[in-house]
């Protein structure tokens, strides 16, 4: 193939259409597919990439962190049970509550929903796995290692202690000189890598990896919820990641983004944090609401009413959730009219939420409801979540917020929303889907008393806490005087907390009992009508022996009949093709089969890459920057090692997929999953960059008016760098055109390699001539913007080099151009970001010229 690439006149090889692999008996098909998809035993388990395996691991790990967070909550309640308790002092207590919040948010809630999504999504959509199994595994390792760093810090007594939203300057190096804040900033960012990989994976899997015929308006409702949630993560997490990077840079390198004496602003952190933090609440709630929307129809024995209305409502929630972050900041001195806007938006979000609740009630009204354990927990969800929603509307009212903000009223409210909106639905979901995982039916004996303990205990703890807050008790106090009159309420809250803990202990016992003694069943114990119940239970690694053709909405199916047919291999891909792991990708809207997605085999690479990433994080934590750089190089090299098993060295042409149809392998398709993954990655990246530019503008316009030292930006260098980036992008695009036309892309790739490097060479003197970036926030912002552009240019050059390597290794042809098209996307984004960033810097330096014109300022502050 390499020869053909260099010889433009050779005729394209016409592949002979391969024939369909032979049909096997159900047993032999099961054995063949199990051999192809299985995870090796013993230590080989560490190489797992299978979604069923990893989904379960995510769920178990998240539950372990939930137990840790819960234990911390109990310690908090011991300390607060009475006034002036001498149990722990403030230094330990501050670590307890910071870690409780951080663990529950970042190590429990998000990974728990990811676990459910990873386990269930492919099965609900009629696919054999997620789109990027190795990324699932990498995300898992990032999550576990990041969580381990945080917990190890807690054991060592140097855990984060600035509150889970880490307000600076308290968390700056001035007021928290130890590594406590660094543990949070680096550890949580490490964990967030897994949130971002999961978001990309969920988005692409829902959009592309569905059973043929499952058009987008036939998807099971949970797929909609997860799709919208994943989109929110793509745009919600980058502001926080940027904020964490900036704060870590301020702590480690003294770049003053948040220091008001040097043109920074502590409020910038709050904006970046809550720009993430508020959508985060809905990112946690919506997947749980999706699970509710799956369970209610099963127990109401009626399909979800208002399916389209619910989808629109969820989109409205997602949209609104990005417009109300300021309601966490009502008391920072923002003008009242602006507050009123965010207040209205915050109240408004109650409407799409109410629409969902009444769609669930309507479903029950339309059906013939039947009681079972999951419904009991859903009753608890409804009660607790409605109260949380109502107190949320109260807090959205500015005058009331001024009284209740930062008191235990808010603590009560957020627990009602998160426990009501996430924990209760997830408990219900556990009872609902546990039979799927274990193949054993649900027992009621312990589930019911466990519910009542949790429900009564929770309400005792947190209902009273509203009153504690109104009685004036601020949050995050490690002790309080008896004279404040808060003793009685706090003692009852603590009693309630221990009842809740006993309830969860009973729940754990119940799960163990069910695993051991549950009655075995054949298939679909709840008579559900969605596809995940069509797999055998417990599910085999390959999930479906064949993929079904869906001819109706995906919540109107008969899993029993479908499951039997699929097990016989009746459907798409109902065969074993050379032991390859295959699933189908469909056209996004219509669900017509489009590509055969060939998935990677189990490998230790995700583990190794996760370990290398962890080494980078630890090196940064202990300020070993050279080691960090080496670790980064190792991480990058390991990522490159993922690629040789992707793609092919020969054209294959369309493959038979069963049912008399054919489809090309994904690397010969125009828009394979990885192409979409690149698009969504760049969207998240652009959000990060946009947040940085927002920060720069915010500091220049709203931040404390500390005169900025002049910023010298040589126009020739900037224009040259911008032009080189654009030319590099053009070269990368031209390389694709050459390749697709059957000609050699080598020269164009070389240009796409050299031009970004030229841009770097032009930008380096700009950064060098900037002067000390620690003098003023505007310089620091300029510095980081330039560094961002340089990093992107370097990666663009890397993509071009990668293209050359793949060309030489024979992976490229006119029909196999994916590698170059991915690189071209990156190049295009780097050029666009370059133009935007350089224009922004020119604007910023103009502002810098204008600001010192204010009389009486010459250099330093007056």
């Amino acid at each position: 193939m390499t020869e053909r690439m260099t010889d433009p006149d050779a005729p394209p090889a016409t592949p002979t259409p391969p024939s369909e692999p032979p049909r096997l008996s159900p047993i032999r098909l099961h054995k063949a597919l199990s051999a192809a998809w299985g995870t090796p035993p013993g230590l080989g388990r560490l190489s797992a990439v299978n979604h069923t395996v990893l989904g379960k691991r995510f769920i178990i790990a998240a539950f372990v962190f939930f137990a840790i967070g819960g234990a911390l909550a109990m310690l908090i309640r011991v300390q607060l049970a009475t006034s002036e308790t001498a149990f722990v002092g403030p230094d330990v207590y501050n670590q307890f509550f910071t870690m409780h919040g951080s663990v529950m948010m970042f190590l429990f809630a998000i990974p728990m929903f990811e676990g459910f999504a990873i386990y269930l999504l492919p099965k609900m959509l009629g696919a054999r796995d997620m789109a990027f199994p190795r990324l699932t595994a990498y995300g898992f390792w990032c999550y576990v290692f990041g969580g381990a760093i945080l917990v190890a810090a807690l054991v060592a007594g140097v855990a984060p202690n600035g509150g889970w939203f880490m307000y600076t300057p308290l968390t700056s190096s001035t007021y928290t000189p130890g590594i406590n804040s660094d543990v949070w900033l680096l550890g949580v960012t490490f964990v967030e890598i897994s949130a971002l990989t999961a978001a990309i994976e969920i988005t692409v899997s829902v959009l592309k990896l569905r059973a043929p015929g499952m058009s987008i308006d036939r998807m099971p409702i949970m797929a909609w919820y997860l799709l919208i949630t994943a989109f929110m993560m793509l745009f919600g997490f980058p502001p926080l990641i940027l904020g964490s990077i900036l704060l870590e840079l301020e702590r480690a390198a003294d770049l003053p983004f948040f220091d008001p004496l040097r043109g920074g602003d502590p409020l910038l952190w709050q904006h970046l944090f809550w720009l993430f933090g508020h959508p985060e609440v809905y990112i946690i709630f919506l997947p749980a609401a999706g699970a509710v929307s799956m369970m209610i129809p099963t127990f109401a024995r009626h399909e979800l009413v208002g399916y389209r209305t619910v989808v629109v409502a969820v989109m409205a929630v997602a949209f609104l959730s990005f417009g109300l972050w300021v309601h966490h900041m009502f008391t920072v001195g923002i003008p009242h009219l602006a507050l009123a806007f965010f207040s209205a938006a915050s109240g408004l979000v109650a409407i799409p939420t109410a629409v969902q609740i009444f769609a669930w009630l309507g479903t029950i009204a339309a059906g013939r409801p039947r009681y079972d354990v999951p419904m009991l927990y859903l009753g608890g969800f409804l009660a607790v979540f409605v109260i949380g929603g109502l107190t949320g509307v109260m807090l959205a009212m500015v005058p009331f917020n001024f009284q209740a903000h930062d008191t235990h009223f808010v603590v009560a409210h957020l627990h009602y929303v998160l426990v009501g909106g996430f924990v209760f639905p997830m408990l219900a979901a556990t009872y609902y889907w546990l039979p799927h995982i274990t193949g054993r039916a649900c027992e009621r004996r312990l589930a019911v008393p466990a519910f009542w303990l949790i429900f009564v205990g929770f309400n005792l703890t947190f209902f009273l806490m509203h009153l504690t807050g109104l009685a004036g008790m601020p949050r995050r106090v490690w002790t309080y005087p008896e004279s404040a009159g808060w003793d009685g309420l706090n003692l009852l809250s603590s009693v309630g907390g221990f009842l809740t803990a006993m309830g969860f202990a009973l729940f754990v016992m119940d799960i163990v009992v069910q695993l051991r003694f549950g009655r075995r069943f054949r298939r679909n114990p709840w008579q559900a009508r969605t596809l995940e119940w069509a797999t055998p239970t417990p599910p085999p690694a390959y999930a479906f022996a064949a993929l079904p053709r869906i001819a109706d909405r995906a919540d109107r199916l008969d899993p029993g009949a479908i499951g039997v047919a699929l097990a016989r291999g009746e459907g798409y891909l109902g065969f074993d093709r050379d032991g390859r792991m295959e699933t189908l990708a469909v056209e996004m809207a219509s669900g017509a089969p489009q590509q055969v997605v060939v998935l990677p085999k189990p490998t230790y690479l995700p583990l190794a890459t996760g370990l290398a990433t962890g080494a980078v994080v630890l090196a940064l934590l202990f300020k070993l920057y050279l080691v960090a750089l080496l670790g980064l190089a190792a991480t990058l090299a390991l990522f490159l090692a993922w690629t040789p098993s992707c793609g092919a060295r020969a054209d294959s042409g369309p493959l038979p997929i069963g049912m008399g149809e054919t489809a090309p392998p994904h690397w010969e398709a125009a828009r394979p999953p990885s192409w979409w993954a690149m698009v969504f990655t760049l969207a998240a990246d652009a959000t990060l960059f946009g947040s940085l530019l927002f920060g720069g503008v915010f500091l220049a316009v709203v931040g404390p008016a500390v005169p900025a030292p002049p910023i010298v930006l040589p126009p020739a260098l900037l224009i040259g760098a911008g032009a080189a980036l654009v030319a590099g992008a053009a070269a990368a695009a031209f390389a694709v055109r050459r390749l697709v036309a059957g000609r050699s892309p080598a020269a164009a790739l070389l240009a796409a390699l050299v031009l970004p490097l030229a841009a770097v060479a032009l930008l380096l003197p700009v950064i060098g001539g900037l002067g000390d970036p620690t003098l003023h926030a505007s310089r620091a912002v300029t510095f980081v913007t330039l560094a961002y552009l340089i990093l992107h240019a370097l990666i663009a050059a890397l993509f071009a080099g990668f293209g050359l390597w793949r060309m030489r290794a024979g992976f490229l042809s006119a029909t196999r151009s994916l590698d170059l098209r991915l690189g071209a996307l990156w190049h295009g984004y780097s050029a666009a970001a370059g133009i935007a960033g350089l224009a922004f810097l020119c604007g910023l330096s103009l502002l810098g010229v204008v600001l010192p014109a204010v009389p009486g300022v010459e250099g330093g502050p007056p």
Partner: protein
């Protein structure tokens, strides 16, 4: 137990000034409304579970339309309007600050500077005249704090690099509790302060006494 919340030196539900009184009234109205809505949801659940026939044929659309859209929309509109009017008096009125008392948050105490009283400063105790609006300029010397006198109403953050403003009034002379509401590190829990509202005619004397102490 509910009564416990209504009393106490720091209770927002034992208002001693117009702002706190209005917010407390707003709270009681919202609490009553929330109770009714909560009960209504569970009555609706009981009906859809046991007697869906009561809702007539094909009730789903009407449930979603009325329960999900119309009712919450109307309630929200009313509530937002009321809150806006109240907020105008609370937040917007704090703009002008001639003669405002300067509130300085630092770890872990509050200081108060009284302009026009010969440099009078007090730490840990705030002196205000009763029966009249008092303006405050709030700043911080280190990290973020929040200045809050629950019985008088509303809190405002003390943020380094920013000046925030609030206006409060104590209806009658007396002693009120104040707290720091924003987590500020080790001794956050100890950052209480005392508010003494004096009869207006004696206030000048109090400040003069403070000025003498400060001068010494």
């Amino acid at each position: 137990m509910a009564l416990a919340a209504c009393g106490g030196p720091y209770s927002a539900l034992a208002p001693a000034g117009p702002v706190a009184a209005n917010v407390a009234l707003l709270w009681w109205i919202m609490a009553a409304g929330a109770t009714i809505i909560f009960l209504a949801v569970f009555v609706a659940l009981a009906i859809v579970w046991r007697r869906p026939a009561l809702l007539g044929a094909a009730p789903e659309r009407r449930l979603i339309l009325w329960g999900g859209l119309a009712l919450p929309g109307a309630i929200l509109l009313l509530l937002l309007a009321a809150a806006f009017v109240l907020g105008e008096r609370l937040v917007a009125a704090a703009r002008e600050d001639e003669g405002a008392i300067e509130v300085i948050g630092r770890r872990w105490e509050w200081s108060f500077r009284y302009p026009g009283a010969a440099g009078a400063v007090s730490t840990g105790t705030l002196h205000i005249p009763a029966g009249e609006d008092v303006a405050f300029r709030v700043i911080s010397e280190d990290v973020i704090h929040a200045f809050w006198i629950p019985r008088l109403g509303g809190k405002i953050d003390a943020i380094p690099g920013h000046v925030t403003r609030i206006r409060l009034r104590a209806d009658a002379p007396g002693v009120y509790g104040g707290v720091c509401a924003e987590f500020c590190g080790t001794d956050h829990a100890a950052m209480f302060f005392r508010v003494e509202a004096h009869p207006p005619e004696r206030y000048a004397d109090v400040l003069a006494g403070l000025a003498r102490e400060t001068g010494q």
